[in-house]
Every structure is written in structure tokens, then in C-alpha cells.
């Protein structure tokens, strides 16, 4: 039952977002991966999931906010039963113990050979631009330095379902999978956050809007 619901939700996401996929090098998208993308809509994580090949999709966890995913019965069911999720309590933002626990939970998922989807900007942005990354992705990369990070640029999601809107307008989206990156040995926190962000932003094209 949950499997069927997952299929229906993902098919529906694919249909309404009409996503055209572009993959720089499909050969490199394998193994244990951290997918990271720009965040502008609640559809984002589901759309990324719907674009992954079956064998990757089945082992990919969505990292999301506990407040959002536990808000009502439907979302609770979807996040507990339908998809693999790892929920973070963001209420105590800046709370070091909480952040540390989240990083170590994600690391556990990765160490079992699974993949995760994260949005390092922290929150949904109102436009297409990529904001500065929060530190989490650096600590995650440092703790799991053998894991590759795949940037995924999502376009038009904020127009299909913007922040604060409940209705979906079925425009055509686009998703670009970049080549994976890794934290290099002598790379500092700021350096890495800027590089990871720029890798993602470079996948967008700026001729729209």
C-alpha cells in the first residue's frame, strides 16, 4: 500500500512539474551520495526523488523539517510510512547539541550505504537565486569524507508552488544534475561552503526572468 502511494505521489509530482532532466554525467551518479539542491518549494524533495533511478530512489532519505512533516495526519503518514525520511527539529535553531545529533543521524544513514537529499540553504528562498549555505553540509562532508555530493539545480519550482501557496500551477520545471564534488583535505569551512554553493548556482541558467 505504502509503495503504491509512493508511486502515485511521485508520478503526480513528475506530471505537474513537467520536469525536463539534464544530467552532466550519469556515470558519476552512483554509490553513496548526498544530493543537495536549491530550495524554493515543498515539491523539491519529492521531485528529486521522482527523478532518481529506482535502485537509488529506494535507498534515498529525505532530510526535512520535523515541524513541516509532522504538522498533520497526511504528512505524518507520508513521512513515516511512504518515504524514507529523517526529520530534524529546527525549533532550537543554533542549538549545538541538536545540530550535532542531526549530523550524526545523517552520517549513520550514509554509513549504511544509503543516500540523502538535503537543502543546505536551510529554508525555501522566494526566488531562483541560491542563497549562502549553512554550515551543516560542511560538517556532514567532513564526517563522511568518502561520500560524494551531487548538486541538483531545480528551476521554476518556486513558480509551480511558491512559498505560502497551496495550489500548484502546472508550469514546466527543469532539473540539472551536476558532477559530484568532495571535500578536499586542506579545504576550510568557508571555502567549501562557497565552492559547493557556486557549483550548484553554476548549473542554473540566468536567461529566464
Amino acid at each position: 500500500m505504502a509503495g503504491l502511494i509512493a508511486k502515485i505521489i511521485l508520478y503526480f509530482c513528475r506530471l505537474i512539474s513537467g520536469v525536463q532532466v539534464e544530467i552532466k554525467d550519469a556515470e558519476l551518479i552512483n554509490g553513496t551520495l548526498i544530493f543537495y539542491g536549491n530550495h524554493s518549494s515543498h515539491l523539491d524533495s519529492m521531485v528529486i526523488l521522482s527523478l532518481l533511478p529506482k535502485e537509488l530512489r529506494e535507498k534515498t532519505f529525505i532530510v526535512g523539517s520535523k515541524k513541516y512533516w509532522q504538522a498533520n495526519a497526511v504528512r505524518r503518514y507520508v513521512s513515516n510510512r511512504v518515504f524514507k525520511t529523517m526529520l530534524i527539529d529546527r525549533s532550537g535553531e543554533g542549538n549545538e547539541a541538536g545540530a550535532f545529533a542531526a549530523i550524526s543521524n545523517m552520517s549513520n544513514i550514509l554509513s549504511e550505504g544509503n543516500c540523502i537529499i538535503i537543502f543546505p540553504e536551510g529554508t525555501r528562498s522566494l526566488d531562483e537565486g541560491v542563497s549562502n549555505f549553512k554550515g551543516g553540509i560542511y560538517h556532514l562532508a567532513k564526517k563522511n569524507n568518502d561520500v560524494k555530493l551531487v548538486p541538483i539545480f531545480l528551476e521554476n519550482m518556486n513558480r509551480i508552488m511558491p512559498k505560502g501557496e497551496l495550489i500548484v500551477i502546472p508550469l514546466l520545471g527543469r532539473a540539472v544534475f551536476g558532477n559530484p564534488i568532495k571535500l578536499t583535505e586542506d579545504e576550510g569551512k568557508e571555502e567549501f561552503l562557497i565552492r559547493a554553493r557556486n557549483e550548484l548556482a553554476a548549473l542554473g541558467r540566468n536567461d529566464l526572468g
Binding site: R159, E165, L171
Partner: protein, 312 residues
């Protein structure tokens, strides 16, 4: 089903078969030459034509309901492509909801219920006024006129204009009742043949560009060849219409010229947005909008010619 419809479909079927055979022979002859790319595209286009004709034929044979639903879906997909390219903002979100989920289906509902008066003014009057109002209520004034105008343009071109094609089915033409589906076929055949012939003449003989800044693919040779030959085909199909042979020729000329105008205007939009195609839903052709750009301009004019001169 009357015999004339069978002849029209038979003709389309023969043409597609010939195109497929030629494509097959060309592909075998130029297996590894530089022309391979062009021939592959040609064969992809032919294959897509088979699919489009199959969908079109099935919808038409279902009757008015089938045709209305087919064109409604085409409008929806075309509008989706059009609005995607239009930089609308968050303030337009609810306006777009109205356009996609209320105005568009209602326009086709009006065709279905044959309410001509409302069909003719719903979008030019009511939707025209509602669209800026809803955006104004959302409170974002940045580029307000530009955003509103673009949404209104999408509504007219993708919904209003396209809906005139199935609306041919609701015209009451003396001595032609129950046969209107042939008018829709006539329009579709002339528009698409004109497109194909313009492409063929343009690729083979094309030298002098009509408006080089808008489209390098539209040449005078292609335009004249396409318009003349598609119009002659139109004249040759007069027996399926209420028109005399001479009227069929004149009407076909109008259809093909309007079709060219539609293609040119849409090219200008694509050029302005810096893209080649509106989408990629049809293999080898691009998006729905790339395929029906000529229909958008020719359908309303054809509809009104028939309504004015032939409905008595």
C-alpha cells in the same frame, strides 16, 4: 461515417506511408554521411506525425466531445509552455490558477454547449478584466502591466484562438449538418500541409530570408512554395467542404498566410526569449506550441469566414 471523411483520412494515411518509405530509403542511402542528422530529424518528425494523426483521428471519430477534449488538452499544454517562458511572479500565482483551471475549461465548455455569444466574448471581455484585477488584488506592482499583458496574451493565443478550431463543429451550415467535422479536418490538413511544404521548400530551395532577424528558417522560396501548393491542395479538397473550388482556393490562401503569420510571431517570441523551441513533448518537433503556432492564427479567421459566408 460518410465516404468523404474516409477519403480525407485515406489521403492522410497514404501521405504518411509515402513519407515513411522515403524516410526509410533516405536513412539507408545516407547511413553515415553528414546528412544523417537532418534525416534522423525528418524520420523523428514523420514518426511523431503518425502519432499525432492517430490521436487526432480517434478524437474526431468520437465526435464533438472527443474533439473538444482534445483541443482543451492542447490548449492546456500550449498555455503551460507559454506561461513557463513568461516571467510571471508570485503575485500572479492565483491569477494563473484562474486561467488554467477556470477560464480555460470554461471556454471549452462553452464550445461544448454551443453558447456562441459567450464563447466569443468570455476571454476578450471577462477574462481580460479578471486577470489584471486578480493580480492587482495580490498587491505586487512590479512590472504590473507587462506581467498582466503577457498572461492575457497567453489566454488569447493558447486558449481563445485554439478554441475556434473545435468551435467549427457548432456552426449551423445549411445542407451540411452533421458534416462539420470535415471542416475541422480541412483546416488541420491545410495548416499542417502548409507548414510541412514550407519546411520542404525552405530546406531544398530556400535562399532569401523573409525576416532574417526573426527566423533564419523562413525563406521566400519556402513561403511561396508552401502557400501555393497547400492552397492548391485546399482547392483539390473542395468536395469535402461547403465551398466552391474557387472559394476553397481563396480560403486556403487565407489559412496558409495566417499560418505563416502565426509561425513568424511565435518565432519572434522564441527569439526574444533566447530559445529554439517552446518544449520537447513531441519528438523532432519541439513543444505543442511549436506545432500549433500556425493554427492559433488561422483557426479564428477560418472560423469567422465560414460563419459569415456559409451559415446563411
Amino acid at each position: 461515417m460518410d465516404n468523404e471523411i474516409k477519403y480525407l483520412f485515406g489521403g492522410i494515411l497514404s501521405l504518411l506511408t509515402i513519407a515513411s518509405v522515403i524516410g526509410f530509403l533516405l536513412a539507408r542511402k545516407y547511413k553515415d554521411s553528414s546528412a544523417k542528422h537532418v534525416i534522423d530529424n525528418l524520420n523523428a518528425r514523420t514518426k511523431a506525425w503518425w502519432q499525432m494523426c492517430a490521436v487526432f483521428a480517434v478524437s474526431l471519430l468520437i465526435g464533438k466531445t472527443g474533439s473538444v477534449i482534445l483541443f482543451c488538452i492542447m490548449s492546456f499544454l500550449a498555455l503551460r509552455e507559454f506561461i513557463t517562458l513568461t516571467p510571471t511572479k508570485k503575485g500572479d500565482h492565483k491569477t494563473l490558477f484562474w486561467l488554467f483551471f477556470v477560464i480555460l475549461p470554461y471556454q471549452y465548455y462553452l464550445v461544448y454547449t454551443k453558447w456562441y455569444g459567450m464563447f466569443a466574448i468570455m476571454i476578450p471581455v471577462y477574462a481580460f478584466l479578471l486577470i489584471p484585477l486578480r493580480s492587482a488584488l495580490a498587491g505586487d506592482t512590479n512590472n504590473f502591466l507587462e506581467r498582466t499583458a503577457k498572461i492575457q496574451w497567453g489566454a488569447v493565443v493558447c486558449v481563445y484562438c485554439v478554441s475556434h478550431a473545435p468551435a467549427l463543429l457548432i456552426l449551423d451550415i445549411p445542407n451540411y449538418s452533421g458534416e462539420n467535422v470535415k471542416l475541422l479536418l480541412f483546416l488541420a490538413i491545410i495548416v499542417q500541409m502548409s507548414d510541412v511544404l514550407q519546411y520542404v521548400f525552405g530546406k531544398t530551395l530556400g535562399k532569401h530570408k523573409v525576416v532574417p532577424n526573426v527566423s533564419p528558417n523562413k525563406t521566400w522560396e519556402g513561403l511561396i512554395g508552401g502557400v501555393v501548393f497547400a492552397s492548391l491542395i485546399g482547392m483539390g479538397l473542395w468536395w469535402s467542404t461547403p465551398f466552391s473550388p474557387l472559394a476553397a482556393l481563396a480560403i486556403s490562401l487565407v489559412i496558409t498566410m495566417m499560418g505563416f503569420a502565426g509561425g513568424l510571431v511565435m518565432s519572434a517570441i522564441k527569439r526574444d526569449r533566447g530559445i529554439k523551441d517552446f518544449g520537447n513533448i513531441i519528438q523532432g518537433h519541439g513543444g505543442i506550441m511549436d506545432r500549433i503556432d500556425s493554427l492559433c492564427f488561422s483557426a479564428p479567421v477560418f472560423f469567422h469566414i465560414v460563419r459569415y459566408y456559409y451559415t446563411g
